[in-house]
Amino acid sequence: MSDSASVLPEHPPVTDWVHDFDHTDPRWTENPFPIWDELRAECPVVHTKRFLGVYLPTTYQAVKEIAYDTEHFSSRRVIVRDERPEVMKNAAPPITSDPPEHKPAKQLLLPPFTPDAMKKLEPRVRAICNELIDEFIADGKCDAAARYTKHVPVRAIAHMLGIPENDGELFIRWIHQILELGIKDESMLKQAVQEMSGYFAGHIEARKQRPTDDLISTLMNAKDRDGQPLPDTHVLGSLRLLLIAGIDTTWSAIGSSLWHLAKTPADRDRLIAEPELMPSAVEELLRAYSPVTMAREVIKETVISGCPVKPGNMVLLSFPAANRDPAMFPDADKVVIDRKENRHAAFGLGIHRCVGSNLARMEMTVAIEEWLKRIPDFRLDPAGQVTWSEGTVRGPRQLPMLFGKAG
């Protein structure tokens, strides 16, 4: 995804972050943290006229107020883009659902993603990680984003859905087209959604003939509140969601974690010496490098943290910025892998808490553990360049690493 900046239509460069921010500006993509600090020092909610009008809550408190407020903020649009095309019914339920439709749609998806369900999937994910490492460890180096972090969530979600793990490259292309290129290119987005829908429609049809024991069949067999089977459009929408939300996000979280560990031998050595720190380390890496910024649409005028908010605008619900708020987290800009109190919002707050959070945590834990077992010493390759994805999900898309001790 390193090519995204060069193929997207240009936005004018930002000269005034406080009144004219742009979350697709290359400086934001590269290093958003000082920008968020500047905005937060100015106001809990800032506004830009770009993207037809967007607010950005900059504090944990403001993000939380919006996340809990489904009366004034709708999830019918969850990506901030150059255009506001018509809202699609059953776009990707439940992430695009508001109450009262949200709860029944979400409850269908929750049981397959509990921590216990993830424990059953864990051995397969551990095997996936080792299969991937086998492919490059002898080279003494690799692009960890292209060869490792990308494939772990793709193969895991394919395994859960019951579709071929080898179709991963297709999924990755669609996600790139939807989440990155689609921000500024409507036709690209439509084409990707259409291809993805066609792909899943085929798998749904096949299961009508021969039911299987996987997540697609689970959704097809699910009943709504009135005991009726879900319409195919709902099943398709939820499958789109699982693929889109299940891949880029965890790819990013694993990538940022390895990026941090490559630059921070002390944390790496401590995790190897004290593996019991892994759970708190994973939470801290999720806090410090939260990948996902969701969006809301303002549907009724209100006031957030003292700032008036008007309908017609979108909101970039920056959980990553909230997680760097020093009013909430002491030493917010430091990664403290044994941080004791960590109410981070990487998976959202309120009713839209990420349905795959237990999957993401398990994948991160396993991917970091297996990497550290096989490759305890590694560093960023000075001959290469780290690049970051733009837009809704932030993580390394090129992550060149050298293995072994330096020198």
């Binding site: 409850q107 929750l110 049981p111 993603f113 509990t114 921590p115 216990d116 759970p279 939470e283 004791k340 109190e341 960590n342 109410r343 981070h344 919002a345 998976f347 707050l349 309120g350 009713i351 808490r353 959070s357 237990n358």
Partner: protein
Amino acid sequence: MSKSPGLRLRVDQQKCQGHARCKSLAPELFELDEYGNAHEIGDGSVPAGLEDKAWLAQANCPEIAIEVTEE
């Protein structure tokens, strides 16, 4: 030495969104239902020796859904 007061905890079902941080930090004190939402085990009394875990779970709940009271 006087006996320290016992703790009791309760998960507010209106607030819990199933982050499952409590279950991860204090599996002795919380259980999850089929949707992954957390509930205190039994009547929520915290056995002696698990007080720190109760406070830790409370301090890490993103939804502030866990109440700990001293009895």
